[in-house]
């Protein structure tokens, strides 16, 4: 397996992880709405995943930049930009006192990210397969 295939494999695994985190977020939000969890616990639980989530995505994007995968880089840039903006505005963490006010927005955001990581996952798989096939065709 070539380096390119490995890169895409790694990206696919990371996307899958991020995808699961988003599923977890959405489940927790609906738990909050159903009163199964209180806002303070919710925020402590979710907040520990926020920065790892941002960092993992940023690392992927940087990897694509280094390896010159321009198309996938372009695909990831908008989300990177959005994450950076949230971080700079200091709005990336969940605040227990405002969670009910921001909940509709947070849910929408998590859902869009979920779709994004879902698409990325298959995109990277496809990229990996193409890279393997390409490799084979080179040496066959």
């Amino acid at each position: 397996m070539g380096g390119e295939a490995l890169l895409f494999l790694f990206a696919a695994i990371v996307s899958a992880l991020l995808l699961f985190i988003m599923v977890y977020f959405i489940i927790m939000f609906s738990d909050l709405e159903c009163d199964y969890i209180n806002p303070i616990d919710l925020c402590t639980k979710l907040n520990q995943f926020v920065l790892p989530n941002y960092i993992a995505h940023a690392v992927l994007t940087v990897l694509f930049l280094i390896t010159g995968k321009w198309l996938t880089l372009l695909f990831n840039l908008p989300l990177l930009g959005y994450n950076i903006k949230r971080y700079l505005d200091n709005k990336h963490m969940f605040d227990a006192t405002e969670i009910f006010r921001t909940l509709p927005y947070d849910k929408k955001e998590s859902f869009i990210k979920l779709v994004f990581f879902f698409v990325s996952f298959f995109l990277y798989l496809y990229g990996m397969v193409m890279a393997i096939l390409h490799n084979k065709s080179l040496y066959a």
């Binding site: 909050l32 709405e33 806002p39 303070i40 605040d95 009910f100």
Partner: protein, 940 residues
């Protein structure tokens, strides 16, 4: 204090007061909202057939038409003749707008269904304010034996209006387009109607039963819409925000009935939605089962509601409080208690840095606490208190009953607070009484020589939290300084160059997240934080007020406190005494249940929101008020009415677990006219104020201003679209019952919390906390101050109303300098302060009677009026005392009395209350109306 710059004295008060008016427990033959039973005409029969009566043929210009000069004098001054000279020529104040109103409110059609008295001598109870009092003649005193009756009594006089009401509900569809519109340009707002809060409604469905069941009095619960649109589309069409303003645990005035307490064998609740049984359920199956009014499920009714096994008699359900009174308190049975109920626990956290000692705050606090020890609720001798003081170190006090002298333990490591002798810092008030007294006697002098200007508030709070953690309780913080020492200290971030810029809102938001996190931690441990702030300097009220905001507490603010001034000392010690002695509910939660199809979209007030319908309150504070905004999610076509039930589970001061239940029902309508005709401008203004406070804290001040003004523009626009024909674009029309909305909205924009201008952020933050926390009556007076002319008194004005604790008040007048004369004496009550305005030309005899001094010798600023033995002074003192007493009871705020003379520096402060006049960059009322009209015409 008198030499303060004009702007600053504003928020001198502390805790805002509320309802000087008791809940509207009995009837008054007026009320500006349709749908109330006491109206002389049925609610939905809208006067004559056509809307927009041709009020005036004058062209509505931006200003009101120029008046004939002698008519420009508004209602009050010409009336009465207590002063001999007032009848003479009278000059108006410099005409600020260049124009004045032409017709007095008397000529306003439909604006006030209330008693529109012709100018005459005093008919008590005839003008705005006195009505409240007359009402109280009917339910004097509170009889403990059967308090419930007080909630019902008044009803009996009501048969006719009730029938009118029920008729009108059945006629709902008949008068589709008969709307009485008011053209706002034609007349000034009739502010006397602000006080005419709607009476509690008897829902049509229940008015034919043998015992009439009515909604809670206004102070407990009021809705912006007293007829709920059938679906969201109709609500959106009206643009009126749908919300509820709630004070389920409100303070009870001396003339108000107590809430009936009931202890049934079993607390009956709906199987499905868990709503409590209430007056608005329906009995089915010959009264053996009941249908829930919230979810419509049918439940079994326990036998004890039908048959009393002890007396072996059938039960008269009309005597059972929970089946008849919409405000009721259940004594909780065992399943509502977890462990022993919390005792009253108070931890005093007192700043003893140089400023605190210098201002006399510590000595005054110690003296007041000492004298209030007997007033602290101490049922069963379970009450505990403790003290922590701090400057750059923490001082703990061992108050163990076995000691002969209190021991001071100093901890100087602020980063990792160590609690010495944890068992002896919080002691039983009764057991350690002697040593507590010894300590308080010393406390005033203990740190007398300190030069320490540091204040380690966060460390002191952490310590108090650790001590109280296991049992919960109350932390009372006394802070004179910006917390400038140790971890999480605050910096002086006030920067006047940010005023009036988008960055200003950063000054109004907490500087450090720790304070919010700490508050949440306290909330979790059932600890409530109340803050008393004393400082002439910047103290970062914005950050410190986060502590009470999320724990159900209050902010008390005494800028520039100096105990050597009698007024300051009295104010602080009265409020602290009341703070310690007032009734509070401990470890409380407030659950709000609504009919299916309604969901709560926003909640505003001092608390921590645990779920969209569950509010956590370490203390349920009677001074606080909560507002909800509601969405209509589903079509309500099949519903005749919707229902709100607020239930506060709490521990009362006698150690009992109790549930205060407030139930409110509102009819549903499919008719836009009825939605408008039953909207309440007071509740809309107060809800909007609370929303705007939230917006200021989370977004920007300008966003909050836009929210306020767009609320008004949208409502006016929606009304225009629905009810105005073309060709009326030059007019600004609104249905009569909403005619006060623009003036309230404008006053809100000019409130110190929201107006533009160079306003110190501490002052703004305090104003925001008043608006966010205070109950409806207090908020209304804070938004639109009460102005009275006191140089001319009616025969009864200022005399006590027999059999009540109230006083006949003068009529309110509009907040405009044009309504004032140059020889007048005026009294302004903005809920935080009482300001006496002396004109240069004030009648010297009256001035002398009141102050015992000539005009020139009267000092301006905070004053204590002399109490000379003459009729005039007695009456004025009665009025002032009445206002102060009712504010102290209703919102724990004892307003200062200020004297402002016409040529004073403080003149600008007084004038800033004149919200109908132009002020700096803020518009005058007619200009504001033009602006509204412009916006409405652009957008609709």
């Amino acid at each position: 204090m008198g030499s303060q710059p004009p702007m600053t004295p504003q928020p001198m008060g502390s805790q805002p007061p509320t309802a000087s008016q008791p809940p509207m427990a009995s009837q008054q033959p007026f009320g500006s909202r349709s749908g109330t039973p006491q109206m002389s005409r049925p609610p939905f029969q809208m006067t004559s057939g056509q809307f927009s009566p041709q009020l005036s043929s004058r062209s509505p210009s931006p200003g009101f038409p120029p008046p004939p000069t002698d008519k420009a004098m508004p209602q009050s001054p010409n009336i009465g003749n207590a002063s001999p000279q007032t009848g003479r020529h009278r000059q108006k104040y410099p005409d600020q707008m260049g124009k004045a109103y032409s017709n007095g409110p008397e000529s306003l059609p439909g604006m006030n269904q209330g008693p529109q008295q012709p100018p005459q001598f005093f008919v008590p109870g005839n003008m705005g304010q006195p009505n409240m009092m007359q009402r109280d003649l009917q339910s004097p005193g509170n009889n403990f034996q059967n308090p419930m009756n007080n909630f019902q009594n008044p009803m009996n006089n009501f048969q006719n209006p009730i029938n009118n009401l029920s008729n009108s509900f059945s006629n709902m569809n008949l008068n589709q387009k008969n709307v009485t519109s008011v053209s706002l340009f034609d007349a000034p707002p009739n502010v006397q109607t602000i006080d005419n809060c709607p009476e509690p409604v008897i829902p049509a469905q229940f008015c034919m039963q043998s015992s009439e069941k009515k909604n809670p009095p206004y102070g407990y619960c009021c809705s912006t819409l007293n007829a709920v649109p059938q679906n969201n589309a109709l609500l959106q069409k009206s643009k009126i925000p749908f919300g509820i303003v709630l004070s389920p645990y409100k303070n009870i005035g001396p003339d108000e009935p107590e809430v009936p307490v009931t202890s049934p064998e079993v607390i009956v609740r709906c199987e499905i939605c868990r709503a409590y049984i209430n007056p608005f359920i329906t009995y089915v199956d010959q009264g053996t089962r009941w249908k829930c009014n919230i979810c419509h499920v049918v439940n079994d009714l326990p036998a004890f509601y039908s048959w009393d096994s002890k007396t072996r008699q059938a039960v008269d359900r009309n005597t059972i409080p929970e089946l008849n009174s919409s405000v009721v308190e259940f004594v909780a049975t065992r399943e509502y208690t977890r462990g022993p109920p919390q005792p009253v626990v108070i931890m005093f956290v007192i700043d003893v840095s140089f400023q605190s000692i210098q201002s006399g705050m510590v000595a005054t606090a110690a003296r007041t606490i000492l004298s209030s020890l007997d007033n602290i609720p101490n049922y069963d001798n379970r009450t505990k208190i403790g003290f922590v003081t701090y400057d750059s170190t923490l001082h703990f006090y061992n108050l163990n009953a076995n000691l002969t002298e209190p021991q001071m333990l100093v901890v100087s490591d602020l980063d990792d607070v160590f609690i010495p002798a944890p068992d002896d810092l919080l002691v039983n008030l009764s057991e350690s009484r002697a040593i507590i007294e010894a300590f308080l006697n010393k406390l005033g002098n203990m740190h007398k020589t300190t030069q320490n200007v540091s204040s380690a508030l966060p460390a002191a709070l952490t310590a108090a939290n650790k001590i109280l953690g296991p049992i919960g309780g109350k932390i009372a913080v006394f802070q004179s300084n910006i917390p400038n020492c140790g971890k999480n200290s605050l910096k002086k971030r006030e920067d006047p160059s940010l005023y009036n810029t988008p960055k200003e809102s950063t000054l109004l938001q907490p500087a450090d997240h720790w304070y919010k996190d700490f508050a949440l931690d306290c909330s979790k441990k059932q600890i409530c934080v109340d803050t008393f702030i004393f400082s002439g300097q910047y103290t970062d009220v914005a950050t410190i007020s986060t502590l009470p905001r999320f724990t159900g507490g209050s902010v008390y603010f005494y800028p520039g406190f100096d105990a050597s001034r009698a007024e300051d000392a009295t104010k602080f010690s009265s409020e602290l005494n009341r703070f310690l002695s007032k009734k509070i509910g401990l470890e409380a939660v407030l659950r709000i249940r609504t009919s299916r199809g309604l969901t709560i979209k926003g909640t505003y007030g001092n608390f921590f929101l645990m779920a969209t319908d569950l509010i956590q309150l370490p203390n349920v504070n009677p001074d606080n008020c909560y507002a909800l905004e509601v969405n209509i999610d589903k079509d309500l076509t099949s519903e005749k009415y919707v229902c709100f039930q607020a239930a506060v589970l709490h521990t009362s001061n006698n150690g009992e677990r109790r549930i205060r239940v407030v139930t409110n029902v509102i009819p549903v309508t499919n008719n836009l006219t009825e939605v408008f005709a039953n909207a309440d401008p007071r509740a809309i203004a107060v809800l909007t104020a609370k929303k705007a406070v939230e917006k200021t804290i989370t977004d920007k001040l300008e966003d909050a201003r836009n929210l306020i003004i767009s609320t008004c523009v949208d409502i006016m626009g929606a009304y225009k679209q629905a009810f105005t024909s073309s060709g009326q674009a030059s007019k600004l029309l609104i249905i009569d019952n909403l005619s006060l909305l623009p003036v309230l909205i404008q006053a809100l924009l000019k409130n110190i919390a929201f107006r533009r201008g160079n306003i110190p952020s501490d002052i703004r933050s305090f104003a925001l906390s008043v608006l966010l926390g205070s109950p409806i009556e207090n908020s209304l007076a804070y938004i639109y101050s009460k102005l009275y002319a006191i140089h001319i008194l009616d025969a009864n004005t200022g005399l006590p109303i027999p059999n009540t604790s109230e006083v006949y008040m003068p009529p309110r007048i509009n907040l405009s300098m044009q309504r004032m004369t140059q020889d007048g004496i005026y009294l302004l009550d903005n809920s935080q302060h009482i300001i006496i305005w002396l004109s240069r030309g004030s009648n010297p005899e009256l001035v002398n009677a009141l102050f015992q001094k000539p005009y020139e010798a009267i000092p301006s600023g905070k004053t204590t009026l002399p109490t000379p033995n003459n009729d005039y002074a007695t009456r004025i003192n009665n009025i002032i005392e009445f206002i102060r007493k009712s504010r102290l009871i209703s919102y724990n705020n004892l307003p200062y009395v200020y004297v402002v003379k016409e040529e004073d520096n403080n003149r600008g402060w007084f004038i800033s209350h004149m919200v109908e006049d132009k002020l700096d960059s803020e518009l005058s009322y007619p200009q504001f109306l033009s602006h509204l009209r412009e916006q409405v015409n652009i957008n609709y």
